[in-house]
Amino acid sequence: MSRHTVRPPFQPKHIADFPCGTCDEAGHLVETLSSWRTSTPEVNLQLCTGCLRCYLLCPEGMIVKKNGKVAIEFDFCKGCGICAHECRSDAIRMIARRE
C-alpha cells in the first residue's frame, strides 16, 4: 500500500498561495524521482524469506512488508542496488530498465 500522496505540481497564482514564512506541511511531496533510475530492482517471491533486511536498509524507504514477504514501490526508488546487494537469499535482481 502506498503510504504517501504525491500532489500535483505546485503552480501558485497569487502571493497568498505561498505559506506565510518558510513553513509548510511535513511530507509535502510534489514530484517522484523515478527518472533518476537507470536500473530497477525486482523481487523473486519464491526466494524471499521475509527477513526484512532490504526493508530495513533501503535509504528511500521504498520497500514495504507484504504477505510475510516484501514488495518494492517505485516512486522514489533510484536503483541504487543496496537491496539486491544485501539480500542474503539473492531474491532481488537489478534489471536494466525503468518501471
Binding site: R3, H4, V6, F10, T22, D24, E25, A26, G27, H28, L29, V30, E31, T32, L33, W36, R37, C51, L52, R53, Y55, L56, L57, C58, P59, E60, G61, M62, V64, K65, D75, F76, K78, G79, C80, G81, I82, A84, H85, E86, R88, M94
Partner: protein, 313 residues
Amino acid sequence: MSQTVSRPLNASTLDEREFFYGHKACGGCGGSLAVRLALKVLGERTFTAVPAGCMSAVGFVYPQLAFGSNAIISTFPGTASMLSGIAAGARALGIPDFHAVGFAGDGGTADIGIQALSGAIDRHDRIIYICYDNEAYMNTGVQKSGLTPFGARTTTTPAGRRLRGALTQKKNMFEIVAAHGIEYAATASVGYPQDYLNKIDKAKSVSGTSYIHVFAPCPTGWGTGSDVSIELAKDIVDCGLWYLAEFENGEFRLNRDPKQFTPIQNYFNKQGRFKHLLPEDIEQIVKHRDREWARIRKQWIRISPPPAVAGEE
C-alpha cells in the same frame, strides 16, 4: 513512554511508517539511511533539526518536503543550540513526551558546530544529537573536514606526487563528547543496523543529552558503487578503523571487540578516495589503528555485545 510494552526493537517491530522519503540524496547514501532509521525509532512525536549539509539540501527543497515528522533547518554552526531552544520551548509550553533530535554531518559536528554541541551537553539539555559521518563536506563537493581520515583524498587534500591526501587523523569526537560528562554517547554504523537501532532506542529514554556518531558511507564522495554502502560500513568496523562503543554513567564500553581484524586493504580497495595510498601509508594507518585499540582495550571496560539479531554476526 509511548511504547507501553517494550518488545525487542528490530525490523519487524519497528514503526512501519516512513518519516523521511521523497528526498533527493544520491542513490545509496548512507546518511539518508541513518536519518530514515532514527526517525522510525523516534516516531511522530519528534522535532528534528538539520543544519546546512546534504540532508537539508536533499530534504527541504520547497515544495518537495521529505520529512514526514516535524523538521527544521538550522544554521550550519547552530544545530545543537537550535535543538536546545526547541527542547526549552517545548518544556516551557508543557508539551509532554517529545524528542528533539539533530542530524548533522561530520563537518557540521566536529568543525563549525562543535561549540554549540559543547554548550548543549554542558547544559545537559534533553536532546539527541546524531552525527552522520561520511568523512568530508559532501554537500559542497567533498572537501576535507575535521573527521576526514588520514590519507583520504578530498578536493582540499588532493592526492598527488608531493602530498597524498589528508595529513591529519580523524578528531576523536566520541571521547571529546564523553569528556563533557555526557549522560549517553555511542558510536554506530549503518553497516550494523540493529546495533544502531538499539542505540537510538536507548537514547530515547536518556534523561540528559545523548550523542550518537553513526558511520554513513557516501558513494559519490568516496568513489564507490551505490550498492556497497552497507558493506563498506560493515567492513570499516570489521577491519578496526571504526568501533561500536557506548559511554554511560561515566564509563566506556565496547560493544564489539573483534579478535581478528579483516585486512584493511579490502576496505580501501573498494574506494576511489584511497586508491593512491602507498604501502608506507597503509602501514602508518595500521600502526595508528593498533595503537588506538591497545589504548581502548586498556582503558575501556569490555562487556559482551547485546544479543545480535539473525543476519548480523
